[in-house]
Amino acid sequence: MKQDHSTLKTLYAAFPSTIPIMTAFLFLGLTYGVLVNVSGFPWYYATLMALTIFAGSVEFLCVHWLIMPFHPLQVFALTLMVNARHLFYGISMLDRYKGTGWRKLYLIFGLCDETFSINYTIEPPAGIDRTSFMTAVTALNQSYWVVGATAGGLFGSYLTFNMQGLGFVLTAMFVVIFLEQWLKQKNRAAAYVGFGVSLICLLAFGSEQFIIPTMLGILGVLTLLRRPLEDKLPATPGPESESGAAHSRVNVKEEGNA
């Protein structure tokens, strides 16, 4: 009983900071579920992918990938690239997730953009255990997404209005995420690299083969540009301050998403 009470108390304490994410995840999750549904898959595909992948943009892409010819290596490589930013969240959370015991596995599993932004920035209220608070935030966020996706998967077939063009939600989402990063990043060279290499490879390799060459090209160009790009950054004399700058950069960037 005592355990239940404290779990409820923790959920109650964590809930307010997840409200913006609840709104976004219920809507996007619903849209995602509808997309799964109208793409011809049963509703539980949406639920299962929301539970196991739990990375919004990749789940949208995965619906694409399920319709297209079987190409698991490209799926794996593209997912790595899309989610490469998680590496950075992980690096930022190394200390915060230290000493969280067995719940650390779930905390890392659920480390999406939005969960990262809260667990990185929000301090639990007095009297609330930090590990329990972060676990509650992670679980609440995932539950919004799973509920939204399941509802969309279930009721998508009852939606009578024309769904043509719904897939554009993915384009719009990436445009907005890109724009957010563009507005917050002082050095925008990587955007030109991204667009330039993508368009060149799209022309050279065609629409179904250009992803992996593009990924390698971006890595290569960014590696070549490391010197000039790092020189342009303000105040990066040593590894110490660089690490500090990196932390605040991710922090600022993610606040906009939440």
């Binding site: 976004a24 011809g40 992918m49 196991t52 943009s57 990749v58 995965c62 990938w65 399920l66 319709i67 010819p69 698991p72 799926v75 794996f76 997912t79 790595l80 690239m81 899309v82 930013r85 998680h86 590496l87 950075f88 969240y89 690096i91 959370m93 997730y97 890392i108 480390l111 024309n162 063009g165 719904l166 554009f168 939600v169 384009t171 719009a172 989402m173 990436f174 445009v175 907005v176 890109f178 724009l179 990063q181 563009w182 925008r188 060279a189 990587a190 955007a191 690299v193 991204g194 667009f195 290499v197 993508s198 250009f210 593009t214 990924m215 960014l222 490391r226 590894p239 660089e242 960037k253």
Partner: protein, 111 residues
């Protein structure tokens, strides 16, 4: 459906495995108290912007600028998304507004 059930499971598992790799690797590679290599930090700062540019291109890869309607619905949809976002800076409204505008365009104007 072009993929068998086994292929579908493998496609989804590829997503799960790659996602989990990106989330778990830092905790496996960089135990607490050791400095992160500068190259990884550099990529972490610049890769996201490049990757989202790639993803925008990826979403538009099948748009043919040489055939009617010459990518007009996509351009308008993106323009509305960007305008909404610069105006209100609310991700949800920008995404919903751009998507609804695009759906109306392809269903009514360019159908």
């Amino acid at each position: 459906m072009t993929q068998t059930l086994t292929e579908q499971v493998l496609t989804i598992l590829s997503c799960v495995a790659a996602t989990m790799l990106t989330r778990f690797i830092p905790f496996l590679l960089f135990p607490p108290g050791r400095p992160t290599p500068a190259y990884i930090q550099y990529l972490g700062r610049h890769l996201p912007l490049a990757v989202f540019a790639l993803l925008v291109v990826y979403c538009l890869r099948q748009v043919d600028p040489l055939m009617a309607p010459y990518g007009t619905p996509e351009l308008l949809g993106i323009a509305i998304t960007v305008a909404l976002h610069l105006w209100l800076r609310q991700m949800l409204i920008s995404i919903a507004g751009g998507t609804i505008a695009y759906m109306l365009l392809v269903q009514w104007v360019f159908s």
